[in-house]
Amino acid sequence: MITSNRKLTVPDFMRPVAELESQVTELKRLAPKNDKVIENKINRFQDQLTKLQKKIFSSLTPLQRLNLVRQSERPTTLDYIPNILDEWIELHGDRGGADDPALVGGIGKIDGHSIVFIGHQRGRGTKENVARNFGMPAPGGYRKALRLMKHANRFGMPILTFIDTPGAWAGLKAEELGQGEAIAVNLREMFSFEVPIICTIIGEGGSGGALGIGIGDSIIMLEYAVYTVATPEACAAILWKNSKESLAAAEALKITSHDLKVMGIVDEILTEPIGGAQADHQSASKYLREELIKQLNILLRLNKSQLKTQRYEKFRKMGAFYEI
């Protein structure tokens, strides 16, 4: 739940909820015990609060969704991992001189299956965010991911990826070390693996930096997550020549889970708890675990060549054009 000391990060559209919430909390604290009348009143407030939350969340604009998933309370890859895997070990290093903290990975078990997991890792708070580079991987991050995915392929372990990045790191070192090449190779190699790949967009799917671990047999997207070809801010600056037009850009780009399901870019939309995944990490993890197990059981029925053909066909169909 959003508590008062976190109010600073509450987006505008969440303010009414946050206010009502703190009032309810206050009432509960002050109310005398075993007073039926007051109890009923509190329950009514609680119902109102739930209704308000549902109403606000059912009509979130694309830009509000983007702001929502950028909230620091939003669960990150390493918040989900302990809750969705039965046991796990994080593994490190790209074997090329680096261990990128913005892209994590390892091995684990889910529902009896050994798997490899890979995910973007944002930080919480300034200090941790600096250490994690705000979830923007360097080329070494993508190369570490590739190394772990090759490991998965050798040992027949399905790959679970978790997407949550504003984009791949744009910096001098990133260019020097070949950011483009690192992502490109991942795109190609992810089509070669003979194990199931399930990708989940848990927060922000930022362009090529997201796609670099985003080729899969099943693409799951959390209800309020977004997936963009360019951030609305960048798109507005470029196409509208005005970064203040990011609201219009966010609408035009079609970045919500619903839009992307219609376009055939994501397969499953995963319902989030009331108030979004950040309001209830446990339920969000539970839903995600159940969905991953369900998808895994479907994909494990396919043989290697079926898997690869199906993956090829899935992406082969993406695109819209006339042929005259």
Partner: protein, 288 residues
Amino acid sequence: MSLSNWPLKKANSKAYNIKSTKQITIPDGLWVKCFDCGLLMYSKVLKRNLKVCPQCSYHFQASSNERIDQLIDQGSWEPMDAHLISTDPLGFKDQKLYSQRLKDTAVKTGLQDAVQTGVGRMDGQKVYLGIMDFRFMGGSMGSVVGEKLTRLVEKATQERLPAIIICASGGARMQEGMLSLMQMAKISSALEMHKKENLLYISVLTSPTTGGVTASFAMLGDLIIAEPKALIAFAGRRVIEQTIKEDLPDNFQSSEYLFEHGFLDLIVPRTQLRSKLIQILYLHTNND
């Protein structure tokens, strides 16, 4: 991942002033001035030299038609999928309707979209060739570019022939939203099949090759060649400058910079590109 991230006109250094992305049209019979050294020359002279300045070797932008003439044996070019046309899947409107922008650009350039594909011969050797054209919305990659290049590579795989793609692009076409990003995946999947069959794929990077194109098929060549002093990058220079708040090296994101860091096999001037490609193709044929 778009062209306009790039401060193309910004001149940080004389030596690496990458200006070739300017739109230039050279009407016949006129004089042109070299952007780099200022040489005044007859436009026919420039064209005859494959649009490379005879004095300083500055590479002017070349169109896809010009490149076909420069690279392919005369009379051997057979275009593929010339009838694929972009739709406006998102109903996208920024300052202008995307559908209108497509129509206007087609009229202005005589092109259907930002890539031409086909099969032709180079000194008799059959190759599948894709050439991006920067004049069509900055060479941006939407569904048509993705589909045409995917079909090109698939056909090359089927026929067990080499594929060459000449890149010139500002990146993904934002007006097609996520569908444009997915073209990176689609083309890469076709290249994976081609590679698995041990077939040769050469990417040729020309100015500018940036964003989503750099992060997919441009960097997937078995051999990667670039024209001299081309702008080749993943992220925009301005974005990087803003984040690191210090000056970048003079030759940052140029062919020479990438070569120094091991991402290119060769830097080949346009005037020698055909002969070098022919030689490379030849050197890959004696093990059959």
